[in-house]
Amino acid sequence: MPDDLAEVYRTTYHALVRFLYRKVWDAERAADLAQEAFARALVHRPANARGWLFVVAANLARDEGRRRLRERRHLTLLKAEPETTGEHGEPEEAIDLETRRARVRAALEELTPRDREVLLLWDAGLPYEEIAAQTGLAPGAVGTTLARARRRLVEAYEAGSEETHVARG
């Protein structure tokens, strides 16, 4: 069992941090929560460690979100307006990474909670069955949900980009 968890830690730690990062949007905090989840796994020794870890991580992130909300310290969703450097029609590559990250974040937050969760779990490497088990979806519905989540993510991102371009005039 400890070996199992060690293996899960090796293969899943970064995926868990990534999963958490897209919920709390703070790399250090995401690492803290991921480590907390693993520390709890060391105590609880769950049978399906990986699935269990993502459930715990999601709960930790949710508690974190609630606390932040309560403290009215919720971080500003988006950083400052994208920099309007250069001429119009600049290629997307010229937009700095931070801006694009903020747009992805904004786009993700436009998804319904369930769509977002399914997408993030998939991106963290969970198979359809585990995603279904975690989100309460029927296994056959995961593909449909993922398809919708992906489309909405892309649409929301591009809508956000267009707005910026329009704003730049």
Partner: protein, 338 residues
Amino acid sequence: MSHVDEGTLHAYLDVALPPGERGQVDAHLAECPACRERLAEARALIARADALLALALPAERSAPPLHELRRRPMWRRVRWPIAWAASVTLAVGLGWMLRGRENRALVASAERDTLPQMVAMDQSREEPRPAPLVRAPASRTVAPRQEAQGAAERGRADSAAPATNAASGVVPIVTPSIAASDRAPALKPATPAPAVPTTVDGLIVTGAAQVVERGRAAPVLSSTWPILPHSSATRLLGTELVMIPGVPVKDIRMSPYADGVVLVEQEIDSTLVIQLFQRRADAAAADSFAGRGYQYQRQRAAELRRVERLARFVGPLRVEIAGPLGTDSLSKLLELVK
């Protein structure tokens, strides 16, 4: 087979279809150009969504060894909640020690031009909120002072708070009703105190402080710091330890990093531990992390970053203070260190 729906196409591309179903989709795709086109669209959509998600990645850092997580107490991993919003005048009266645990109270004192306040420390972890039990609004203006007087009188009515003689110009000390918790002995209302807190024995610390959080253990991982006899600590430092006078010493520990740091933990009460890190100032000055492992550096940096830390020199020592109090309170406590 009829056309393949989008969800199935995504599941097909995600290699998540059961073998039988996958075979059916393959068969259909072979004879349906429309579905092949939709498959290409789905593939492009997945690639695009993956690319967007890849823009939102945390900077990758190495994972600490798993076995280390086991030893790390909760507070090390979970960052301290952000300080309470309101800045209030907080005073920590240490006279309790002389007066017995039953009678301990956190006592506010104030300069003559400042309206004194008393803060009850809410032990609740779940709902830290700014000084819910402050009876008087913070203010230096006349009108709120009247309010404070009213508050004090109400306090007297409902909690036997001491009478205050605001009319004669004596600034009232507002007595709190302190939130008792099951972990700490109930804190009794302070003895009625005149404006100059001479009746309170022991030390008095004043200042605008933010209670960060009570009820947690010490902010810096100390369980992995070996406990040290007093004499050894003195020998290590080459001088007598410094501490806040009048506060019981919980333990004396030594840094596990072989950097000559001694930690004195002093317990103001069972949930409020102040840490004093001390090291020879000459060693501190020479400290460049040179020769130490990267891992150590990272860990140490993380510890330092997460904790309110103030430092001063006391004789040959450099002393840092840490504790679950706001900067101002810690600063006042640090000034008392001898």
